[in-house]
């Protein structure tokens, strides 16, 4: 399995690469070379930090290349900011559009007495037909660190509660995103990445 990991210079890829390789994937990294996207069997867009960093995807031409790969049916997984990028945009960087695969936008957690960022291990309420989260049982935890989040919609694959319910995973066809860090979520996270690598079919 050949996985293309997109580097848009927003933090460290080491952990994601390590987890994918641990699961037996061959990994390539691109920060702008579009040719490898053509032969990718899976695409992973990691991401920590600021939504504005996704600007680089537009500047390098990666955005249309990823859009084309998704249209070909290549399974795509966005992690953290990489998930948020699948939406129309984020109030973190209002002038920077996302991919718009999902029509809604991401927003900061509401003001409350709870701390923002949301950091730590939290649980998932998994949609029964999610292929990405197959085998994740109630009461399993994953690791989050973020201040912005996606809204709960019909495409939401898992809901997590912190201040308010938000989409901790999204899934429609071959396009998936997780707000948490599966590469840092112990056995549960590896199970989710393994589901992504081993899902059958391309659509």
């Amino acid at each position: 399995m050949r996985v293309m990991v997109i580097d848009y210079k927003a933090g460290n890829l080491t952990s994601v690469l390590k987890a994918l390789r641990h699961l037996g994937a061959e990994t390539d990294v691109t920060d702008g070379d579009l040719a490898p996207i053509e032969r990718a069997e899976r695409i992973v867009l990691p991401g920590v930090g600021h939504f504005a960093a996704t600007k680089r995807l537009d500047a390098t031409g990666l955005t249309p290349a990823i859009r084309a790969a998704i249209a070909r049916g290549v399974p795509f997984l966005g992690i953290c900011v990489g998930m948020q990028w699948l939406y129309a945009g984020s109030s973190e960087a209002p002038s920077q559009p996302g991919l718009g695969y999902f029509a809604e936008s991401c927003a900061r957690f509401s003001e409350s007495k709870e701390k923002v960022p949301h950091v730590g291990w939290n649980s998932l309420e998994v949609r029964a037909d999610s292929r990405l989260l197959a085998g994740v049982e109630p009461g399993e935890y994953v690791y989050f660190t973020h201040s912005y989040k996606a809204p709960v919609t019909a495409d939401t694959a898992a809901v997590t509660h912190y201040i308010e319910p938000f989409a901790s995973a999204v899934e429609r066809g071959n396009v998936m995103g997780v707000q948490f860090h599966p590469e840092k979520s112990g056995a549960t996270g590896l199970k989710i990445l393994s589901n992504f690598l081993h899902r059958e079919g391309t659509k």
């Binding site: 080491t14 960022p117 950091v119 730590g120 939290n122 509660h161 860090h181 590469e183 840092k184």
Partner: protein, 259 residues
């Protein structure tokens, strides 16, 4: 529901885990990579490796240790000790750490916090603060002092004010060690931890003083800590993070179980 984190801390010198109380009676306690994997498999929510190697030659050893420890570790992994520049931090991240903690270097040059945060994101920067109550002050807790050099030297900074500055500069978490409690096994400094936790909007990790399970219950309740560092408690009767968390759950603390 968000859970309280138990972070297993390994003190490492010259590539070996060491344990000791207040830096005396330091003994060899094994290989850091093996110990990190063991703590993760025994339920720790996060692993921190604190390098207490003082020498320049030790840096290469540390990077090798981080690389080996990170290889099979799939929980958050922090590294602290001797990180003096954004370049030092970059090397540690490249070796496989998810977070770095900075302490005296950030006090000497607070811009270091901004620099690491800009390159690697706020979630990757932990500012470690060694704190001591100021018994002379009108409010010994609110006016607690920041120390460096293993608690030997005063900096003139106040803990709450420094924590706020660290947050404003882009720190993602505060690791607060009470030098009054450290090594005493009489409990965390809950008043001080609460004062810092209420002053900032980022997670506060409590450290120093744990001797019993109830000390953790206290610091998560009264101390308003988001996470707690567990080090020597594993040498004194509490067998693992899992058993600690099972006891915490019985006491009503929300923790990641099963793990």
């Amino acid at each position: 529901m968000i859970t309280k984190r138990i972070i297993a801390c390994l003190d490492v010198r010259d590539g070996r885990v060491v344990k000791g109380v207040k830096f005396v009676d330091i003994i060899d306690a094994g290989d850091p990579a093996t110990q990190a994997a063991r703590h993760a498999s025994e339920g720790a929510d996060e692993i921190v490796l604190l390098d207490i190697t003082a020498t320049h030659e030790g840096r290469a050893t540390l990077l090798d240790t981080v690389r080996r420890a990170a290889r099979e570790l799939f929980v958050p992994f922090g590294v602290g000790g001797g990180i003096r520049s954004a370049d030092d931090a970059a090397q540690v991240f490249e070796a496989g750490a998810d977070k770095v903690s900075v302490n005296s270097a950030a006090l000497a040059d607070p811009m270091l916090i901004d620099a690491i945060g800009r390159s690697f994101g706020a979630q990757a920067v932990v500012v470690a603060i060694d704190a001591r109550r100021d018994p002379e002050a009108a409010d010994p807790v609110r006016d607690a002092q920041v120390l460096v050099q293993g608690g030997r030297k005063l900096t003139g900074r106040r803990v709450v004010e420094w924590a706020r500055e660290a947050e404003a500069r882009g720190a993602g978490e505060i690791l607060l060690t009470s030098m009054d409690s450290d090594g005493m096994r009489t409990g965390f400094d809950c008043e001080l931890t609460a004062a810092v936790s209420e002053a900032v909007n980022i997670p506060v990790i409590a450290s120093g003083g744990a001797g019993t399970v109830n000390h953790f219950v206290d610091v998560f309740g009264r101390g308003k800590a988001d996470a707690a560092l567990a080090a020597s408690i594993f040498h004194f009767g509490v067998s693992s993070a899992r058993s600690l968390k099972e006891d915490l759950a019985k006491a009503g603390v929300s923790v990641r179980l099963p793990c």
